[in-house]
Symmetry: C2
Amino acid sequence: MEIARPYLLFLGDVPDALAAKTALGIVDWRPDWCLGQLRLPGCKADAKIPEMSVTDAVAAGVKTMVVGVVNAGGVLPDHWITTIVEALDAGLDVATGLHVRLATIPAIAEAAARSGRKLHDVRHTHERFATGKGTKRPGLRLLTVGTDCSVGKKYTALALEKEMRARGLDADFRATGQTGVFISGRGAAIDAVVADFISGAVEWIAPAADPGHWDVIEGQGSLFHPSFAGVSLGLLHGAQPDAFVVCHEPTRTKMRGVQHALPSIREVIDMTLACGRLTNPAIRPIGIAINTEHLDEAEARRVCEEAAAFHDLPASDPVRFGVGPIVDRLLAAFPKG
Amino acid sequence: MEIARPYLLFLGDVPDALAAKTALGIVDWRPDWCLGQLRLPGCKADAKIPEMSVTDAVAAGVKTMVVGVVNAGGVLPDHWITTIVEALDAGLDVATGLHVRLATIPAIAEAAARSGRKLHDVRHTHERFATGKGTKRPGLRLLTVGTDCSVGKKYTALALEKEMRARGLDADFRATGQTGVFISGRGAAIDAVVADFISGAVEWIAPAADPGHWDVIEGQGSLFHPSFAGVSLGLLHGAQPDAFVVCHEPTRTKMRGVQHALPSIREVIDMTLACGRLTNPAIRPIGIAINTEHLDEAEARRVCEEAAAFHDLPASDPVRFGVGPIVDRLLAAFPKG
């Protein structure tokens, strides 16, 4: 899937920043591709790039409007459709990571047909996958796992890729979600794959590679999330990681969208080891990534230091303090990587 | 998905009984729903029910022709299409568990349109599911889990439903695979659901019920199968079972389709408890179903007795010895069920 650049980011009128994490992720990792944002009245998210109308965007050279938001159930609200039709009629392609396919909405399908523009449903892959085989393949793999959804698994994987490359390692971010696909230009939204093919799809996303090559695979959900744990387990089995990093948000009291309490980092390490050994008996934890955005600097340092001491693993906030200590440990554990 | 009854079973001209196992399973468990079979010249499978033409079937009151076979190569042979069109034109609905969707075959789509009859593709669900919530709902639930695929999880669930009803319990088999959907007249092929909605689909399949009602839910795959464990985990979380039965085939050395050894019954119990507690902290094992078809009678008894003693659970072959001891234990553990 090739998405024409640069992008206009459509944020709709989402109620919080978390609902716009796709757009915010793209602008964080590919700022040069994002010329502006289009927000509707009442929007509570802000990508902190110039506000742009569709007309402004076309004048600035934008090629694709990215609907960079998620919403409950993945349904496209009726009042967003008007702006999407406007963008198509103005000559922009439109790309989304929503569950609903753009072409199933008649007004959008008609606008795309009359303007000759492309509709990209990043969440829907047209790739045909085999079922997973679980056999060990060459190359090294790191997977980010989580105590919940939306705790920084993609961010951590991207930060690790950047730091590993800076240290001279041969490393590639592997996308398993729609934002990751927008950022990397390849991959598949693993939660949209038919259930029988979850692990097989991951075997395709992170294929056999040179012995010293690292795939840094974006995790999804949590083995402890009652809505999505099946996705997380199939992803773990398909990734067959040599190393994993646990991602955590220490101020969250309930898992996203449900009434369940967060598991501890220890529980996630133990369950990841217990399940992950099926396809890689040598799987091991290599670090902890803590999202400290809701803590002050001193508290953030204290939380990371405590987690590091308690688990005997490097612990850091990838945004605030970087992932250097985790890559140090990775290099020590895999000296030939 | 609700399939109108009674059924005419279409067996085509399949080369052996294995290719007709869907039809044979329906007639085993729901003989009253199956008024006849329609076989083409050369058919090597036999459901041992009356032979019927489409015309005979309509006269007998049949509502749906079930294409209860799998075909080599995934293509629907032309001479099957003729019979399906004949059935639609005669006023029957048509249901299949084939990979190919009936409506993608023009002659069938046209016949359905002109007759106003329904096409059911049991392998492809059109139901829109919510994501799973994982909150406890009223009613009691039993799930069959396995050390592998194809070890008797559906058969065990159906045998339990039959025995529980014979003991006066209010129990319903809940289908999660295509054959099961034909047998229950409702349900969804869970391995065909989009990954994000596995547990949500199971919450729909086994909804809130009276406090004393038992759902007996058909398991899929195994938490230890590297191809399908994600499906099994989402199914476990959505089912939130109060009780589970472990199904096992003691002569199998490798898991179906892969190179991995089978887990032990103990490992499956421990992993099911560890994962299942997320949505039902009171989950407990209630019995072991051992498929002894490859053992002689004395060996079969010895294997069941050893498993029962080792795990302190009733162990039986549902086909050979029945599920009585497992239902005894269930009644003792849930006296108000």
